[in-house]
Symmetry: C2
């Protein structure tokens, strides 16, 4: 492991990578100027707590969606698969103030489990209903820390034992300005200390799980 | 896009995916009980602000590294490539209280740019020096919000124009308990609204960038 030892210093920047890319859906208060169902694409998102399950998303204060989420304290994180990527990229460069992103992207806003205002994206493989607990102003972005109060998954992602098979969802990762599919399964949590028998068996299962390439 | 419309509800859990997997390095105050250089593996990490560049990491209060980061307000996020994955997994299942993880994993602790206590991992392709600004208690985890005050990248990742080529780093993503390589380049930020000429040219470059498979 000597190839990385020589380093050069770069200016500080947001180089944590890979990061998720998600479609966040939201809607302002009923009767307010911001009541339209809306979508925003974010890569500044992360899990921040296990019990209770919590996430953070960071949104620029100038964004239309920022006003909507602030009004209702609700949003939905819709995971992005390869089929949703073009719409997701589009929602990252356009403002919901000017257009109806659901209509423009041929996506379907449906009620989200546990929430009263923010819709979910029907076409997403997995939707996390989130309730804002804290808003932390950080400079260009406000960080919304939220509890995941409900989860809805595509029925097609459940196996016969009714276990979620997120490996089949063809999720997309974001790496330094580009979107990538997930590639080879390299291991499972704990594989470095697994017995040889367990390792061989679980890696065989893991590699067999990889869905066939979409052929794009 | 009709295949995913049927949904089932699952219990709330931390299903944001894919997420980064990183090796965080830290060290307690000089002369304290926690002064040993240490490593912790985290998937609960995310970018939270662009200006200034900021990240969050969430750590269980019971962790040895939690005490260390609390003492000094410093840590380094070391990005994980395929070569580092086995050590990374190992550091996720063992406690630094019991062992010296750097020695155990044959990794090299080096001074981190801009920090006085937390070391960087020499073998990592990219190291983010972080200074804690806020600690937010959230339940099982405390969320450390930190500014990225320096970045060091492997010299081998810079191209002839001295641009960082993170696509060559063979970074690893974490998806629902498993580690994955990054696969096919699917697009660049803004590709959905790019002109046909720009799209064709940039996608050609992007696809050509993909490093040859490591042959594992």
């Amino acid at each position: 492991m000597l190839q990385n030892l020589e380093k050069i210093e770069l200016s500080p920047s947001t180089l944590l990578s890979p990061v998720p890319v998600v479609l966040v859906s939201c809607r302002g208060r009923e009767g307010s100027d911001n009541e339209k169902a809306n979508l925003i694409t974010l890569a500044w998102a992360g899990t921040v707590c296990s019990e209770p399950p919590m996430v953070s998303i960071s949104v620029r204060k100038s964004r239309y969606s920022h006003r909507q989420i602030t009004e209702t304290g609700e949003f939905v994180i819709n995971l992005v698969n390869e089929d949703l990527l073009q719409a997701t990229d589009f929602c990252g460069v356009k403002s919901g103030q000017d257009i109806d992103k659901f209509t423009e992207c041929h996506l379907t806003a449906v009620p989200a489990a546990g929430l009263s205002r923010a819709p979910a994206v029907a076409e997403s493989p997995l939707c996390l209903s989130c309730q804002v607990k804290q808003v932390i102003p950080l400079g260009s972005h406000d960080c919304f820390i939220a509890e995941i109060i409900a989860v809805e998954a595509a029925a097609s992602l459940m196996d016969r034992q009714k276990r979620l098979r997120l490996d089949k969802a063809q999720l997309v990762a974001y790496n330094h300005g580009n979107y990538y599919s997930l590639g080879e399964a390299l291991g499972f949590f704990g594989y470095s200390v697994a017995s040889e028998a367990v390792l061989a068996q679980r890696m065989r299962v893991l590699r067999a799980l990889k869905p066939p390439k979409s052929g794009r």
